[in-house]
C-alpha cells in the first residue's frame, strides 16, 4: 500500500510560519532560527518514509517539539542563561511583542513539555487534542501541562503594577 504524499513544499507553505512562531516563542529568535532549520532538515529526511499523510502538521510540530527538548538539554549542559541576547533586530510592526522580554524569558524557562503545551495552546491557538498529539501525551495530561505552565509563569513574572 503506497501513500501519495504532497510535495514537501506544500507543508512548508502551510506550516513554516507557525513553526517559526512556535520555535521563537519556545527558544528565542536566534536559537529559534537554528531549531527551525533542524526541524526542516529532519522532516525532509524522514518524509518519504511516512506511512500515511494524516495530520502532517502534527507530525512537523512533534519534530519541532523534540528540537525544543534537545535545545533545553543542550542549554542545561552548557549552563547558559535562559534568555537569548537580542542578536536579531525585531520588526517594529510586531509592537505587540515589545516590552514582553520578561514574559518570553519566563516561557523559555519552563520545562519543555509545559513550554510546548502553553505555546501550542495560546500562541498558536491549538485545541488540547492537538497539543496532546504534539507533545505525545493524553488530552488530560496536555491540559495539566498548560495549567502547570500558566501557574509557573504567574509565579515567575514580576508583579505588575496598577496603573
Amino acid at each position: 500500500m503506497t501513500v501519495t504524499l504532497p510535495p514537501f513544499q506544500t507543508l512548508l507553505d502551510e506550516h513554516a510560519a507557525d513553526l517559526h512562531r512556535y520555535l521563537v516563542a519556545s527558544v528565542g529568535p536566534h536559537d529559534g532560527a537554528d531549531c527551525l532549520q533542524e526541524t526542516v532538515i529532519a522532516a525532509l529526511r524522514a518524509y518519504p518514509g511516512l506511512a500515511h499523510d494524516r495530520n502532517l502538521r502534527g507530525w512537523l510540530f512533534t519534530i519541532a517539539h523534540r528540537k525544543v527538548i534537545d535545545h533545553a538539554r543542550g542549554t542545561g549542559r552548557r549552563a547558559l542563561p535562559v534568555a537569548d541576547p537580542p542578536e536579531v533586530p525585531v520588526a517594529p510592526a510586531e509592537a505587540g511583542g515589545l516590552g514582553d522580554d520578561d514574559l518570553w524569558g519566563a516561557v523559555r524557562a519552563l520545562p519543555p513539555k509545559q513550554r510546548s503545551a502553553v505555546v501550542q495552546r495560546y500562541v498558536l491557538d491549538r485545541p488540547y487534542a492537538e497539543v496532546a498529539a504534539v507533545i505525545g501525551c493524553s488530552e488530560a495530561a496536555a491540559r495539566q501541562n498548560v495549567r502547570a505552565g500558566l501557574q509557573r509563569l504567574r509565579a515567575d513574572l514580576p508583579q505588575e503594577v496598577h496603573q
Binding site: 516563542a25 532560527a33 532538515i41 518524509y47 542578536e87 520588526a91 511583542g97 514582553d100 495560546y122
Partner: protein, 222 residues
C-alpha cells in the same frame, strides 16, 4: 482594563501569550536592507540549501518568467526532469508521485538553465547544455524524444520523419503521443515537429507558443 492588569488576572497573561513573541523581520518589512538573516524566508532558504548539500532534495524547482509566460522548471540531482508551462497546477504533485515527495523550491539548482533560457529567448543560444534526467519518459516515447534532440535550431521535421528516424515508419501516431507527453518542452524541442505538409499540429504550451518559438528560431516566415 488598567485596573484589571494586576498579577492575579489570568486573562492578561493569556492575552499577552496570544499576541505572540516579536519575530525577526521578514524581507518585506526589512526597510531595504535585504532579508533579515533570522526572518522566516531566509531561515527556510538556508535550511533547504543545507538539505541540498545533504542530498535530501530529490526535486528542486523554481518558477521563472519568460516571453512565453511563466515556466516551472524542476531538476533532480541528475538533471532537468520537467519543464511546465504556466504555473501548471499539478506539476509538483505529479513529480511528488513519480519521483519523490521531497519536492522543494530550490532556485539555485536551476540557475544555469535559467541563464541559458534567457540567452535562448534573446536569440543568442541555439542549444541547451544542461544535464537531462529523462526518467519521466519511457520506451518508444523516450527513444523518439532522444532522437528529437538531434533536430537543430531553426529546422523542423514531420511526425512521419521522426517515425522514420527511429526506424518505425508506421509510428507517426506514437510519435505524436511522445510529443504531447514531452516532459521537457523547449529544451527537448517538440515545437520543431510539424504535420506532413507543414500544418502546425498541436502543442502542450498552446499553439501560439509553438508559433512564437518557431518564429524566434526563424523556422516560420510569417
Amino acid at each position: 482594563m488598567s485596573e484589571l492588569s494586576e498579577r492575579s488576572d489570568p486573562g492578561d497573561l493569556v492575552a499577552r501569550l496570544r499576541r505572540g513573541p516579536a519575530l525577526p523581520a521578514d524581507p518585506a518589512s526589512a526597510n531595504g536592507r535585504g532579508p533579515d538573516p533570522g526572518g522566516l524566508a531566509a531561515v527556510v532558504e538556508a535550511a533547504l540549501a543545507r538539505a541540498d548539500r545533504d542530498d535530501l532534495v530529490d526535486v528542486g524547482w523554481v518558477v521563472t518568467d519568460s516571453p512565453v509566460g511563466p515556466l516551472t522548471l524542476a531538476a533532480t540531482p541528475e538533471g532537468l526532469v520537467r519543464v511546465g508551462f504556466g504555473t501548471e497546477e499539478g506539476v509538483l504533485e505529479d513529480l511528488a508521485a513519480a519521483v519523490s515527495p521531497r519536492v522543494v523550491r530550490l532556485p539555485a539548482r536551476l540557475d544555469d538553465l535559467r541563464r541559458q533560457l534567457d540567452e535562448y529567448f534573446a536569440g543568442r543560444r541555439h542549444r541547451f547544455e544542461v544535464p537531462l534526467d529523462r526518467r519521466l519518459s519511457h520506451g518508444y516515447r523516450r527513444e523518439v524524444l532522444e532522437a528529437l534532440s538531434d533536430v537543430p535550431y531553426g529546422e523542423t521535421v514531420s511526425y512521419k520523419d521522426l517515425a522514420l528516424r527511429t526506424g518505425n515508419p508506421g509510428a507517426s501516431r506514437a510519435v505524436g503521443t511522445a510529443m504531447a507527453t514531452n516532459p521537457l518542452p523547449i529544451v527537448v524541442p517538440c515545437h520543431r515537429v510539424l504535420r506532413s505538409g507543414g500544418a502546425l499540429g498541436g502543442y502542450g504550451g498552446g499553439i501560439e507558443t509553438k508559433v512564437w518559438l518557431l518564429r524566434l528560431e526563424g523556422a516560420l516566415a510569417l
